[in-house]
Amino acid sequence: MDVNDKTLKALTTALNFREMRQELISSNVANANTPGFKAKKMDFEEALARALDVDGQMGMNVTDGRHHNVGNGGFNNLEPEIYDNPNGVVAENGNTVDVEAEMAQMAENKLMYDALVQLINKKMGIMKYAINSEK
């Protein structure tokens, strides 16, 4: 277990993405009354799962710089997908934000964020423990 290990990178990448998601949700909530504003959604799970290739099912050869990194733990070029929420109900002023749905999303995001921080802490804790137990 070293500080560069794949799991730790996955955890910190997920943490970054969830931060971005929080920003997007805040933006939706703040603009809940802005005429013509379209609610935005963000997906990162697929990109991350591909980079992790957890069950070894998605093997791909990388022969060009633009190819997706699959399973190699190439986390540096991951981009999230941001798009208009297709499930938005259009109000008369053209706004598609559903505040309750956004708040529910925010709660889930926060919970997962906390869980990720905790897992990172656990990993760091174990590493520190292993280092400190030399006598």
């Binding site: 971005m20 997007l24 805040s26 933006s27 703040a30 005429p35 999230p80 505040v99 990172i120």
Partner: protein, 146 residues
């Protein structure tokens, strides 16, 4: 940085809803005002919201898609309607020659509904702000105490 931007976005929402609140409570307070400094009855106020990208153009280049998609909001304009309604009341000091008084076109129900909506929106922005703050505090816990 993302969390700080989230704070800015949420606080822009708070400011915008507060302006909206001010406009509508001013409307309610002035529902019977027939004399104003500009002459004529009080004109009903409304705020118009607009959104714009939170980032300045330089960091947009660095930060990619999120930059254009996360938007702050502001109350871009306070608009006055020119509409007045005429009430027949010859005893009113401001009645014109036919006994009609020009009154502001304000329906208290509409104003109340707007105020309630503004309050709800304000609260949801407060919640968003609090959650962002909690996330930032949680981040500080990495590496602490183990």
């Amino acid at each position: 940085m993302d969390l700080l931007s989230s704070l800015r976005i949420s606080s822009s929402g708070l400011a915008a809803q507060r302006k909206r609140m001010e406009a509508h409570s001013s409307n309610i307070a002035n529902a019977q005002t027939t004399r104003t400094a500009e002459g004529g009855p009080y004109r009903r106020k409304e705020v118009v919201f607009g959104s714009e990208p939170e980032r300045d153009s330089f960091s947009e280049i660095l930060e990619g898609e999120l930059a254009e998609n996360a938007q702050t909001v502001h109350a871009t304009e306070v608009v006055h309607t020119d509409k007045v309604i005429f009430k027949h009341d010859p005893t009113h000091p401001d009645a014109n020659s036919e006994g009609y008084v020009a009154m502001p076109d304000i329906n208290p129900m509409v104003e109340m509904a707007n105020m309630i909506e503004a309050q709800r929106a304000y609260e949801s922005n407060v919640t968003a702000l609090n959650i962002t703050k909690q996330m930032a505090m949680k981040t500080l816990e990495i590496g602490r105490g183990n």
